[in-house]
């Protein structure tokens, strides 16, 4: 099911198809239970309620932000895959969520923070033993350059 859907998406992935159309392909051709029309505006035009226009992912910049070096091969391999996933995320833009409160997680009566008092972790030696580069009493790192 999913694989069928993806084949279709793959067929158009490299062409400059507007992203909502791409999403429609995925969603409509996959035989998945589709959202009720109460939730999805049936036209696939962009209906962003607010905020700046969403730029497609700029992989080298994201990699820099996430502190992950990517090889040129990885950039080539990841870009279409990440692009597909983000296009697919785009379907939520078309859902009417006005006046719905966001939930940060399930409400399960947690939030029982302990008192903000430092506590000593008893197995300190084992923790320090795990540090790759340690010189009592410091964790050693290479020089910190300021690019500016």
């Amino acid at each position: 099911m999913g694989s069928r859907a993806l084949l279709l998406v793959k067929g158009v992935s490299s062409s400059p198809v507007p992203k909502n159309q791409l999403f429609c392909n995925f969603n409509c051709k996959s035989n998945f239970p589709r959202p009720n029309n109460n939730w999805v505006r049936t036209n696939c035009s962009t209906t962003q309620s607010s905020g700046p226009s969403l730029e497609p992912p700029d992989l080298p910049r994201l990699a820099q932000t996430a502190r992950i070096s990517l090889t040129p091969h990885e950039v080539e391999e990841f870009a279409p895959k990440i692009g597909l996933v983000i296009d697919w995320f785009g379907q939520l833009q078309d859902v009417d969520l006005q006046s719905v409160e966001p939930s940060i997680r399930a409400d399960t009566e947690g939030d029982s923070f302990r008192a903000d008092i430092p506590e000593t972790f008893e197995n300190r030696e084992a923790m320090i033993a795990a540090v790759p580069n340690y010189e009592e009493p410091y964790i050693k790192v290479p020089k910190v350059l300021n690019k500016e």
């Binding site: 993806l6 239970p33 992912p57 996430a66 502190r67 990440i82 719905v100 939030d111």
Partner: protein
């Protein structure tokens, strides 16, 4: 004491049956390929027993030890034998403990001294490798943590040990839990015991395969979007995802903190329930853990002798309509419909229920999970633990350590999450996904106001071939449609095998998912236990070990 089906009878039974004892004394050395490992099902002589063999390995272990019919060492040896025998085919373990036998011997000495035994005494437990263990490596299936041994036990592990459980080893997983097949482990691919050319599911594939192949009695997994329930379905075992907050997450390596829970695998509903009881409860080290009292789940396991003809009379069950649509394999749909009929025969009133927002859960889930992972996994920078790549400047050290340490799927999810959380995009992605979470929570609440439990398949298909979806991220994600909504709503859900579809040498198991209201694990366990005990003509022992577990 817990009232269950078999133990009292089987106990008195093997007291009076010397041939069975003989079987153990003739146990061959570990290295022998022809050795016949001890299992609880071989303990019960089926020809003389009207009921299926003792179904709870935890309770059987207790009875065997207390009645002195087996020593903990014998039990441990027999499981280790089978573990080693099957491991070359399955590769479910990343690490096997070298102190299992020593712990078993220690326990035997305690028994000899008539000391009190913990409820999990002698129970052999495997732990998913993203759950911290102080004396064993914990890598989360990632190169970035290769060789890393944490300085503490996760709370769930600490509780298991305290109650007498013996940790057998650490099981394979998709790196940091990111995947649905266990193929995304940096170390090895685990095979499905029902057909070793197929995936065991994921991300807790090692824990599911190990229990299915009786390499251990029970195991812990983690479930962020279905990572306990889908592999349970693929491997034909019981998988239990508790309510968010029921079990402490302390020591579980965070993937998506608003969704992550630790869950349980067993070969029976009773074992999953007993293990859940052992690890549940408030923990001051996890601010989201609930202070709710943990009920005695085992009180739900009614003895079969006491069952009336309609033991679930009046129970309202909702079959989620959206989970039986065209995209789901016909064999799976028919197995689940048959399961619904079985529930009706037990007295339940089964009706279809619609969750209109169901399909929105999948993209919302992946936005939340990748966003939270991009933040949570920023800790793996090679400075305080894990693999460090030498560099002459700090930023390069971060970037190269992470580049070398993370696998492709993890990198992609971090990058995707970094994008979704970029300045100005929060409202469009993360916030919207959180709003969808509210919608989904409400629709579950409405459905669960009208029904006691909801049922659905655990996955749209049975186990598929290794490599089949490896390069199709969206195809892989699509397989999570049955499970992710439950995590968004934080609800408890239990998956148990309910039938088979064609495939492999002996058919492939299909799992039924039961979803309950928050903190209502007791009801799920009760219904699932009765379902399991009354299911006819199904025996979920994989062909790989069918000869041993006769």
């Amino acid at each position: 004491m817990i009232s269950t089906l078999q133990p009292p009878r089987s106990l008195s039974h093997f007291r009076s049956n010397p041939t069975l004892l003989l079987r153990y004394t003739s146990l061959k050395p570990l290295s022998s390929l022809s050795s016949q490992p001890v299992t609880h099902s071989t303990i019960t002589d089926q020809s003389q027993s009207p009921n299926p063999p003792s179904h709870s390995q935890i309770l059987s272990t207790r009875h065997s030890l207390l009645s002195r019919h087996l020593t903990a060492t014998q039990l441990a040896e027999s499981f280790l034998t089978r573990l080693r025998l099957n491991e070359p085919h399955l590769r479910s373990f990343l690490h096997v403990s070298d102190s299992v036998l020593a712990q078993a011997r220690e326990l035997d000495e305690k028994i000899q001294r008539n000391e009190e035994l913990g409820p999990l005494a002698g129970v052999l437990v495997a732990i998913k490798d993203n759950i911290c263990t102080a004396e064993m490596p914990s890598t989360a299936g990632s190169r970035v943590l290769e060789g890393y041994t944490p300085p503490y036990d996760a709370t769930a592990v600490r509780k298991i040990k305290k109650l007498g459980g013996i940790v057998v080893g650490k099981t394979n997983l998709d790196e940091f839990g990111m995947g649905s097949t266990t193929e995304a482990s940096a170390y090895q691919v685990t095979a499905n015991p029902w057909d070793i050319s197929r995936v065991p599911g994921g991300s807790s594939g090692g824990s599911a395969a190990a229990v299915s192949a009786r390499q251990c009695m029970v195991s812990l997994g983690s479930d962020t979007g279905g990572s306990v329930r889908q592999p349970a379905s693929f491997c034909g075992v019981v998988g239990l995802k508790p309510t968010y907050g029921r079990v402490s997450r302390f020591g579980l390596m965070a993937y998506a903190s608003s969704l992550d829970v630790i869950g349980c695998f067993g070969t029976s509903v009773a074992d999953a329930g007993i293990l859940l009881h052992a690890i549940s409860g408030h923990d001051r080290l996890d601010a989201t853990s609930s202070k709710r009292e943990v009920p005695d789940f085992s009180a739900q396991f009614v003895s079969m002798n006491l069952l009336e003809s309609k033991p679930l009379k009046g129970l309202r069950i909702g079959l989620i309509r959206e989970t039986l649509d065209d995209g789901v394999d016909t064999g799976v749909i028919s197995a689940v419909r048959t399961a619904a009929l079985h529930l009706e025969e037990l007295g339940c009133c089964v009706t279809e229920v619609s969750l209109p927002s169901f399909s929105l859960g999948l993209p919302a889930y992946y936005i939340l999970a990748s966003s939270e992972s991009s933040s949570n996994l920023s800790r793996y920078d090679g400075v305080r633990y894990g693999n460090q790549v030498a560099a002459d400047e700090l930023n390069s050290q971060y970037m190269d350590s992470r580049a070398k340490g993370f696998g492709s799927e993890v990198k992609r999810r971090i990058l995707t999450g970094t994008y979704a959380l970029s300045a100005g995009y929060y409202d469009a992605y993360y916030k919207r996904a959180q709003q969808v979470r509210t919608v989904i929570q409400k629709s579950f609440k409405t459905a669960l106001d009208e029904h006691d439990i909801l049922i659905s398949p655990a996955a749209p298909s049975a186990a598929y071939k290794i490599g089949e979806k490896k390069n199709d991220p969206l195809a892989m994600y699509a397989g999570d449609i049955m499970t992710v909504n439950v995590n968004l709503a934080g609800l408890p859900a239990l998956v148990l095998p309910c039938g088979f579809v064609d495939g492999g040498p002996a058919g492939l198991p299909v799992g039924l998912q039961m979803i309950g209201a928050a903190f209502d694990e007791g009801k799920l366990l009760k219904v699932a236990h009765i379902f399991e005990r009354t299911l006819q003509n199904c025996r979920f022992v994989p062909p790989l070990i069918a000869d041993e577990v006769a």
